[in-house]
């Protein structure tokens, strides 16, 4: 065992990182913390209120609804996009010019900004001037996302699926291509069926990329804002008021900075908690595999 040398000058090396992180994360976060414990009436008049905003936020039924909606939405996104992305990746071509063609087509949605995606589908779905909406009307389906909550939900989900399934598909495709050919050959000699190849070769080899895909899609969908905002601004009623829309209404709409700050900290903790949960569960299962 060698003894570690101790030198206080080492702190100097850490200073740049500390400064950058302080300005990019810690100081803004502390400002929010500062707001969350005060009632600010005007720039000169402020009252320390302690945990009151937190208590209020946690008891607010509108927040509970938004949180529930948010979980439902993220769950739906994962339940659709992960299997769909996997299927797309499995059916993608392996060689030839089709590979590049497919990759380009799949990459297009990923390059489009959120608000453009929102506007595209908002117009497409309109019954009067939108091709999709008008077509559905012509088929006798009274499709109207401005008045029917279910239709609004479906529209937002379709936007997300259209926008992000490509990401899952591309990640899975990369993972699939990384499986050596010998596995498929061995499986053929072992007489494995198509399902057995998927279940025992492809899926286990994809755990890594699927973990990343799930984590990315969960975090992203949990913060969804632009699409429902462009479509209906969180309506009809509060049907598509997800957490971030609720937060924006509170902070920017009503200028309730105190409650909004308290709420955004809670929001932050929820995301942190879930990311941590995902990470621990997945690394734990991976470790189990390695050892057992």
């Amino acid at each position: 065992m060698t003894e570690k040398p101790f030198d206080n000058r080492a702190w100097l090396l850490v200073i740049p990182v500390v400064i950058i992180v302080a300005f990019s994360a810690i100081i803004p976060l502390m400002t929010v913390v500062n707001y969350s414990v005060q009632d600010i009436l005007d720039p000169q008049t402020r009252v320390f209120v302690g945990a009151e905003w937190y208590r209020k936020a946690l008891q607010d039924p509108r927040l509970h609804d938004a949180l529930l909606r948010q979980f439902l939405y993220s769950f739906a996104v994962l339940a659709i996009e992960v299997p769909l992305g996997l299927i797309v990746a499995l059916s993608m071509p392996v060689r030839g010019w089709r590979v590049s063609a497919t990759l380009v087509v799949l990459a297009i949605p990923l390059l489009i900004p959120f608000n453009v995606v929102g506007t595209l589908w908002q117009i497409f779905g309109r019954a009067d001037i939108g091709l999709g909406g008008a077509a559905l009307q012509a088929m006798g389906i009274d499709y109207n996302y401005t008045s029917n909550p279910l239709h609004a939900w479906i529209t937002v989900l379709i936007m997300d699926v259209w926008h992000w399934t490509s990401l899952v598909a591309l990640l899975c495709y990369a993972g699939l291509r990384a499986i050596p050919d010998a596995y498929y050959r061995a499986a053929r000699i072992d007489g494995a069926s198509g399902w057995a190849i998927f279940r025992y070769i492809q899926l286990p080899k994809l755990t890594g990329v699927l973990t990343i895909a799930i984590l990315l899609r969960f975090m992203d969908s949990f913060m969804i804002y632009t699409e429902p905002f462009v479509l209906t601004g969180g309506g009809p009623g509060n049907a598509t008021t997800f957490l971030s829309i609720f937060l924006a209404k509170l902070a920017v709409g009503q200028f309730d900075l105190g409650p909004a700050a308290a709420f955004s900290l809670i929001y932050f903790l929820i995301v942190l908690l879930f990311s941590w949960l995902f990470y621990t569960v997945i690394t734990a299962t991976n470790n189990d595999r390695g050892q057992l």
């Binding site: 007489g191 069926s193 057995a196």
Partner: protein, 367 residues
């Protein structure tokens, strides 16, 4: 139990092969006898793996037939042939336990659960895998994984031949010997036909009863290690087997005798006769082990000594003979020569005569 017959098998990776060069495997007729241990030896890209994949069914040959026990299997899928294959990199199903890995081919073939258990335990015992049977296959060492992939072939009671595609590439050197001995044991225990692809001559010569040497898409010789050493049918075999390989010297017919660089070489009359009759480029091959060195005055061939290398078991001298490099093993107690001019004696019995790289005459060779 399997005898494998290859009848005119050839393969090309291009869809419309025009000349010989388009074939990865040139037309080949060949027999692997039941219960034999064969090694397919050759440099990278000589068609060994192509041949192996054709036999296992992973590749459909462009022409020709494969018969297993006299039955034509050319159009059968890999799983329908009674052949297993072990790959260069160990293939194990990570998500399964070792037991499930071994049981996998049987479950796919709808074998009874109790039979599976019996069979897997038997094979695990033979391969020393009993200790790890309940562990997950992921995270095991490469040699254990390679034994598992071998085991997946052995569990199938219908398997009569196992093909190995350079199976020891990723195994630590000190485990290679152990694993190779295990393979030998298994082969004797189960009386299987084994075909073992390698580019390592030591691996091939220690493992196999018969070695098939391949070069540029065709088989150049099938023989026991001794035959390959003493009677190479092709200069490539002479050069590839043995370290260093055989000396190959250009030679001519002069004054009713053989000559190397204008200097007559003693050779039996049938060699001279064969040389006269032969068409094409004539070469004389002799293994360094049989070349004798003496002082310059005592032999008609005189060469310049370049270096003497100590190879551990022996010392190898490199000489230049009329601009041709020739190697010779020094006898055990022979002192390192101080003179740079050396007499070279090529003993008649070990001279091999080649025309266009193919053996045409030698002592004890009957074409």
């Amino acid at each position: 139990m399997a005898r494998i017959d290859l009848v005119g098998v050839a393969h090309s990776y291009t869809s419309s092969p025009k000349n010989d060069g388009d074939y990865a495997l040139k037309p080949l007729t060949h027999v692997w006898e039941d219960g034999g241990a064969y090694a397919l030896l050759g440099p990278s890209g000589c068609g060994k793996t192509t041949l192996l994949n054709i036999v296992s069914g992973l590749l459909h040959p462009s022409q020709g037939q494969i018969l297993i026990n006299g039955k034509d299997v050319t159009d059968l899928a890999p799983e329908a042939r009674n052949i297993a294959q072990v790959f260069q990199f160990p293939v194990v199903y990570d998500a399964m336990s070792v037991f499930d890995n071994l049981a996998f081919p049987l479950r796919n073939r709808r074998v009874d659960a109790s039979d599976i258990r019996k069979r897997v335990e038997e094979i695990a015992d033979a391969l020393d895998l009993t200790r790890v049977l309940q562990r997950r296959a992921q995270g095991l060492d490469a040699d254990v994984k390679q034994k598992i992939s071998l085991g997946r072939g052995l569990v199938r009671s219908d398997v009569a031949a196992i093909l190995f595609d350079e199976p020891l590439t990723v195994i630590d050197p000190y485990l290679k010997w152990q694993l190779r001995r295990k393979l030998k044991e298994i082969q004797e225990q189960f009386r299987l036909t084994l075909v073992y692809v390698t580019h390592d001559q030591i691996e091939a010569l220690t493992f196999a009863d018969k070695v098939v040497v391949m070069y540029d898409g065709s088989v150049v010789q099938l023989g026991t290690p001794q035959e390959l050493f003493e009677m190479p049918q092709h200069t490539f075999v002479g050069y590839f087997i043995g370290s260093p390989g055989m000396n190959v010297l250009p030679c001519q017919v002069e004054n009713n005798g053989l000559a190397v660089g204008g200097v007559p070489v003693a050779a039996a009359s049938h060699l001279v006769a064969a040389a006269k009759a032969a068409k094409g480029k004539l070469t004389l091959g002799i293994r360094p082990e049989f070349v004798q060195l003496t002082s310059a005055g005592k032999a008609s061939l005189v060469a310049d000594l370049v270096t003497v290398q100590d190879l551990g078991q022996c010392r190898m001298a490199t000489l230049m003979l009329n601009g041709q490099k020739i190697k010779a093993r020094l006898a055990e107690r022979q002192p390192i020569p101080s003179d740079t001019k050396m007499g070279v004696i090529l003993p008649e019995a070990w001279i091999r005569l080649y025309a266009d790289e193919h053996l045409i005459a030698a002592e004890g060779f009957h074409p």
